[in-house]
Subunit: 208 residues, 2 copies
C-alpha cells in the first residue's frame, strides 16, 4: 500500500482524518459521508474522496464510510496500529509537559526514555521514567529500537542534539526548538513552534 | 502593504524568515543572501525572493539582505513590532507549560490572562498571573483589548470554549486540543497537535 507516488500533502492530511474518525467513534457514530467529514475538517468532499482513493476503496456510494473500519485502515496506513516508542531529549519545563502529555498513548505513541545533559536532572524521576544522561542515548535507541525522537532543548543546542539522535539511528524528529534543523536524506523533521503560528495570525489582525 | 492578494502560503512562511533572521542577528551576521536563507530553510532562493517581493524591495543585487533591516520590516509586516497580549484558557499541565514558555516574549507575545473553569484552580497563581474563572473572560478581553486566545482544554470542551472566546471578541485562536474547531468567517485558527505530526512520520517509517 505504501506506494511512493502518494503526495506528501496527502500523507499530512491522513492523521487529520484519523483524528476526526477517532472522535466519531467516541461519539458512537457508525457511518460518515465524505460531505460530513469535509464539513468537520473544512475540506471539500471531493478532496477527501480523492485522498482516500490513493489507498483503496473504503466507502460505498450512498452509504458513506464505516467509521471504525476506515479508522482501522488509516491507522494501518499510518503505521500506528502498533505503539511507537519515542525518545525525548531535554527535560525542562517544556520537556516535562511533553513527558506528561496524555494525548500520545491512545494515538499510537509512548515516551519511552528521557534524556538531559544537566547533571542535576539526571537520575530524577518523571512519572515512571528516570532521566538519563546523553551518553546512554545510543544504547537505549538500539535496545528499544527507537526510530522517533522529540527535541525539547534550547535553540542553541537543537542542531547538535539532532545530529546525535540521527547518528544513533533516529529517523523521525519532532522539534520544539524554534530553529530550522538540518538532517540527512531519509530523516524527517516536523516542527512545533507556537510563535510562528501566532505570527501568521497577527499578520491578518494587525490592522483590525 | 497588507494587500489582499498575498497568498496565505506566503504569509505562513514569513514567520519562518523572521525566525531565521532573529537567529542570524544573535549570531552577529549582518547581511544574508537569498541563497544562504534558502539553504537554512530548505527552500529555493528564487522562492524566497519571490515571497519577499510581494512586500517591497529589501535586498540589493549582489550584496544580499541587511539582516536587521529585513527583520524589522518583516516584524512590521507581521504586526509583531509591538507586543500582543494573549488569553490562555485551560490551565492543566499543558496550560501551565504554555504559561511558563519562555519563547513568547522576545517574539511579540505575552500571555496576559489565564482562565479555567475548575473552582480549585481559580485564584491560584501561575508566575505573575492569577487564574480567573470563565465568567471574567468578557471583561478581560474587552479591558485588555485581546484579539488572540490559546485553547488548552480537553477536546470535549474545546469547541464550547472557542465559541465563547469568539463571542467575547477573540479573532485568532491557537488550539492545542486534538480536535477541529469551527469558527465564523474572519476568525482564524491554528493547530498544534504533536500526534498528527508524529503520525505523518510513522507513515514513512513503518516499513523500515
Amino acid at each position: 500500500m505504501n506506494t511512493p507516488e502518494i503526495p506528501e500533502i496527502v500523507v499530512r492530511r491522513l492523521p487529520l482524518y484519523a483524528r476526526t474518525l477517532s472522535w466519531l467513534v467516541e461519539e458512537n457514530v457508525q457511518t460518515v459521508s465524505s460531505q460530513e467529514l469535509g464539513a468537520n475538517l473544512g475540506m471539500s468532499p471531493a478532496q477527501i474522496r480523492k485522498d482516500l482513493s490513493y489507498f483503496g476503496e473504503f466507502g460505498k456510494q450512498g452509504t458513506g464510510y464505516d467509521v471504525k473500519y476506515l479508522l482501522s485502515q488509516l491507522r494501518q496506513i499510518l503505521g500506528v496500529e502498533r505503539e511507537w516508542l519515542v525518545a525525548l531529549v531535554g527535560v525542562g519545563d517544556l520537556g516535562h509537559a511533553i513527558a506528561r502529555y496524555g494525548g500520545f498513548g491512545k494515538r499510537g505513541f509512548k515516551i519511552a526514555a528521557l534524556f538531559d545533559n544537566d547533571p542535576r536532572k539526571i537520575g530524577q524521576q518523571v512519572g515512571e521514567l528516570e532521566i538519563l544522561g546523553m551518553e546512554a542515548l545510543p544504547m537505549v535507541v538500539k535496545g528499544l529500537r527507537l526510530r522517533l525522537g522529540i527535541v525539547a532543548v534550547p535553540a542553541a543546542k537543537a542542531q547538535e542534539v539532532t545530529d546525535y539522535l540521527v547518528e544513533c539511528g533516529i529517523r523521525g524528529i519532532l522539534n520544539y526548538a524554534p530553529i530550522n534543523l538540518h538532517v540527512p536524506k531519509g530523516v524527517r523533521v516536523r516542527y512545533i513552534d507556537p510563535v510562528v503560528l501566532l505570527q501568521s495570525m497577527t499578520y491578518h489582525l494587525k490592522s483590525g
